[in-house]
């Protein structure tokens, strides 16, 4: 009972803080938040003027082709308030049927070949593919392994013609954002 009351108070405090931040001027807000004995979370949002300039709608589908999950961590980070990818009109979607861009991470493992093919085929045109990370470019440290194979022709072609490679191991969220901008600029 006491717990739930505490929790409700905290929720209200967070709301109040946020509203105060929206409404009050900065100096006043600081004083208010100090008065509330709260340690409000402050951070600097990444500024990307070249991305903010144009309004767009882009749905992204992620396809793991055997990555080490480093790229996934950074892709997930894009949704947090610091990078806030949605403000650019870019959104991660849950089905390839909805997607405009396929982001492939990791080298192309043989076991995932069929799944990757099915995913790519499940996307409607126009579809673009981004190869994310060093592994996706040339296999990275896994380059010579028997379990890695060359990407099927159509996917590879899609990357070359309408897609982009984003290097890095893993690329930082900022680099990923810029890469997405590149692919959008490409056509």
């Amino acid at each position: 009972m006491k717990n739930s009351r505490n929790a409700n108070v905290t929720v209200l405090r967070l709301f109040a803080e946020q509203l105060a931040k929206l409404i009050l001027p900065e100096s006043l807000y600081k004083r208010v938040s100090e008065a509330m004995m709260s340690n409000a979370i402050t951070f600097e949002r990444l500024r990307l003027p070249e991305l903010s300039a144009k309004k767009r709608s882009v749905f992204i589908r992620h396809l793991d082709c055997g990555s080490c999950n480093g790229c996934e961590i950074e892709l997930n980070a894009l949704s947090n308030p610091v990078y806030d990818i949605e403000r650019f009109g870019i959104k991660f979607e849950s089905s390839p049927r909805h997607a405009d861009i396929l982001v492939m991470t990791g080298p192309f493992t043989r076991n995932l070949e069929e799944a990757a093919r099915l995913t790519f085929e499940a996307m409607p045109e126009p579809r673009r593919v981004i190869a994310l990370g060093d592994c996706a470019a040339d296999g990275g440290v896994f380059k010579d392994s028997y379990a890695i194979r060359a990407r099927p022709g159509e996917i590879d072609e899609a990357i070359r013609e309408k897609g982009v490679y984003i290097p890095g191991c893993p690329p930082t969220p900022e680099e990923i954002l810029k890469g997405i901008l590149d692919v959008l600029a490409k056509n």
Binding site: S95, E114, A115, A116, L118, A122, E125
Partner: protein, 732 residues
């Protein structure tokens, strides 16, 4: 204007010949078809009776006096036929649908599993239709019971269909074989119980009226003692309730009907079962003067019936069983209208105030409308089921069908129309019936509120149950249509190998299409239909009550308090169509990119698609909904004990089950979490039957000790009781 006498002879001739022909010329295939032609002729005459019948105040009646020697012996026995609007409505309904069924049967009976029995089905069909028509037109207690008996026998004969099929060939499961074996027995027992109660109540009335003729019963209704009236009402309610399959007597419908040939289903479940409703309307409104509490009782029974049966429908995977449960559910909905009408039927005297007549009429119209609707859409659904049965080598298990819409588009799409109708969505007819029923209940609330009556609670509760059953019906048809017809096939190639490659022949198709268009038509012109039905209502209520609409297309119920209640149909439909067209145009204007290949399989998370195992099953679909209900799911009894209650005459090989009536519906046969829904009522009856059978030996030994004196004593006692009863009733 048709002379009732002519009508009687015409149908007697047609159906009689149709009945006799196939029996006499068993080996002659043409006889079967001739019999169907005769049925067609007879039914079409019957179907036309609505338009030929005299005006409501001039009822046509016919007295066929028995020949002189019989008259001398049994002076009261005379066959009287009377066709008023109520009779005409039911006669036409039976006639119209048996016309369609006869047409459909021409084609449908060609299927191999009917081969051995074609002539028997045709013959029994004739008898069945004729007796059903007779039931609704006779004007006399004796012949009513006689007609009911013929009907019972005819249908009992039809219900042997599955049994004789399984005797020849292999039954899909042992359970099915057992069910087919007991179904005719159960039907006969149930029907006779029902007839016994009905007979008791009618005889009670006849004693008071001192005549068997309906006219005198009607005349005597005003002077009836309320206690007697209540007794008559209760006896009739039990008798007719059993026949209509009202809960708690619904158990037999879903057992017996799936065992009869699917061709006659449309008739037997779509219409013949509603004979009980016809009799209820006759007895409750015309032979008795209703008391409000009867209405509440009927209302409760109706809503419980609706809810309980839709609940069991969800658990059944067999298309025919599920549809049978839905039929009773709809009977429940129809009965709800009757119940509301009964509450207000005693006029302005007690509950209703000035609105009473209006509400009664509304409720009766709702009831009749739904009755009509149910006949149409359920008829359609049964015809489609019959088609599927023919096409898929008798597979009607939804969990094994799947993807039929691509194989058999005509059957599937017409079935879908039926499914939408029964789920009550506009613009099809089910919606109108449900809307009218809800309006009747809602408007029935208003006068009760003014008097702060306890009945209000009953009305609200039954309305909630009704709406729950509507929602569950919609759910159930998502399940049926979704698992049976949509998606990809759910059975192996091996199973599907002996399925038909093409859809059903044109004759069946066009009958189904016709029914589907009736669904739409009745949904689009509610006002016209209500106008027609008002004639029937006027007869029932004994006065002229009209519920007109402003136009034939839009139904407006004008009633003093509050604003007029309007059910718009055509305008919104037009708006919706326009919006759809706009949306389509929008997608065209924006010119979608081209060049996407059509994917073979749905998106399944990048894994190869196995349609047999990866589609949602009926069990899985209904799990959540079932989980809110009463704890009727339990794991199946692993060790079924040997049971004493075994139906006599069970064929060898059919294993005895727990209880006489099969009461466990297996939903999922998973090993880790098996799910079974127990039919509570059947299980309860099983316990009773069990008890009886266990004690019957001792009791029987006591009763029947082969001593003639004891038997004479019984006769003596029985006579005394009869005499006392007679005097008691007479005297009061």
């Amino acid at each position: 204007m048709m002379d009732p006498k002519l009508f009687f002879y015409l149908i007697l001739g047609a159906f009689g010949a149709g009945f006799v022909l196939p029996i006499v010329f068993r080996r002659w295939r043409l006889a079967t078809y001739a019999s169907l032609v005769l049925a067609l002729a007879g039914s079409s005459i019957a179907g036309a009776i609505w338009f030929l019948q005299p005006a409501p105040d001039q009822v046509g009646s016919l007295v066929i006096a028995p020949s002189c020697w019989l008259e001398a012996k049994l002076p009261r026995l005379q066959l009287e036929i009377r066709i008023d609007a109520l009779s005409a409505f039911f006669t036409s309904l039976v006639g119209a649908f048996s016309t369609l069924v006869a047409l459909y049967s021409f084609s449908a009976l060609k299927a191999p599993h009917y081969k051995e029995q074609r002539h028997r089905i045709a013959s029994a069909f004739n008898a069945f239709v004729w007796s059903t028509i007779m039931v609704v037109i006779v004007n006399d207690v004796f012949f009513l019971i006689a007609a009911l008996e013929i009907m019972t026998l005819a249908f009992g004969y039809l219900a042997l269909h599955k049994h004789s099929l399984y005797l020849k060939g292999e039954a899909p499961t042992r359970e099915k074989k057992y069910e087919a074996a007991i179904a005719p027995q159960v039907y006969l027992i149930v029907s006779h119980t029902s007839t016994a109660f009905l007979l008791a109540s009618l005889l009670l009335l006849a004693i008071k009226a001192n005549s068997l003729s309906f006219d005198s019963l009607r005349a005597a209704s005003r002077s009836l003692d309320p206690a007697i009236a209540t007794t008559v009402f209760l006896l009739a309610l039990i008798g007719l309730g059993i026949r209509a399959g009202l809960t708690p007597a619904h158990f037999w419908v879903s057992l017996v009907h799936p065992c009869s040939p699917t061709t006659t289903h449309a008739l037997s479940l779509g219409i013949a079962i509603k004979v009980a409703i016809y009799l209820m309307l006759r007895v409750f409104f015309q032979f008795l003067s209703p008391q409000p509490w009867w209405g509440y009782a009927v209302l409760m029974i109706g809503s419980v019936t609706a809810l309980v049966n839709v609940w069991y429908a969800i658990a059944s995977h067999d298309l025919k069983v599920a549809l049978a449960y839905h039929s009773i559910e709809n009977i429940g909905i129809i009965i709800i209208g009757v119940g509301v009408a009964l509450i207000y039927a005693d006029g302005a005297s007690s509950t209703g105030g000035e609105a009473a007549g209006w509400i009664t009429a509304l409720a009766l119209v709702a009831s009749l409308y739904h009755l009509l609707n149910h006949a149409v859409f359920k008829g359609l659904l049964y015809l489609c089921t019959g088609a599927i049965e023919n096409l898929t080598n008798q597979t009607v298990d939804m969990e094994r069908l799947g993807g039929l819409i691509k194989l058999f588009p005509w059957t599937s799409w017409t079935f879908l129309v039926g499914a939408i109708s029964i789920s009550g969505f506009p613009p099809f007819n089910g919606f109108v019936g449900e809307w009218l029923t809800i309006q009747a209940l809602l408007n029935g609330l208003t006068p009760l509120k003014a008097n702060l009556s306890f009945g209000m609670v009953i009305v609200i509760v039954s309305m909630l149950m009704l709406v729950a059953s509507f929602a569950l019906t919609a759910f159930c048809f998502v399940k049926i249509a979704g698992t049976g017809f949509l998606g990809a096939p759910r059975s192996l190639e091996r199973t599907r190998a002996d399925w038909s490659k093409n859809d059903v022949p044109w004759l069946m198709r066009s009958v189904m299409l016709l029914m589907a268009s009736f669904c739409l038509l009745l949904g689009l012109v509610p006002a016209w239909t209500v106008g027609q039905l008002s004639r029937v209502v006027a007869v029932i209520m004994g006065g002229v009550v009209m519920l007109p609409g402003p136009s034939a297309l839009e139904l407006e119920l004008v009633h003093q308090p509050g604003a007029p209640i309007l059910m718009p149909v055509v305008v919104p439909l037009a708006i919706a169509l326009a919006l759809g067209i706009v949306a389509y145009a929008l997608t065209k204007i924006l010119r979608p990119a081209k060049g996407t290949a059509v994917p073979e399989t749905p998106w399944n998370g990048g894994t190869p698609y196995e349609p047999v195992n990866m589609q949602y099953t009926g069990a899985a679909l209904s799990y959540l909904t079932r989980s809110v209900g009463p704890a009727s799911s339990k794991p199946p009894n692993k060790q079924k004990p040997d049971h004493p209650a075994v139906a006599p005459g069970i064929p060898d090989g059919a294993e005895p089950r727990i209880g006489y009536l099969p009461s466990e519906m297996e939903i999922s046969r998973s090993e880790t979490y098996p799910q079974v829904m127990v039919e509570f009522f059947r299980e309860t009856y099983n316990k009773w039957i069990d008890w009886t059978l266990r004690n019957s030996e001792t009791f029987g030994d006591f009763m029947q000790n082969r001593d003639i004196r004891r038997y004479l004593f019984y006769i003596f006692i029985a006579n005394i009781i009869a005499l006392v009863l007679f005097l008691a009733v007479r005297g009061s």
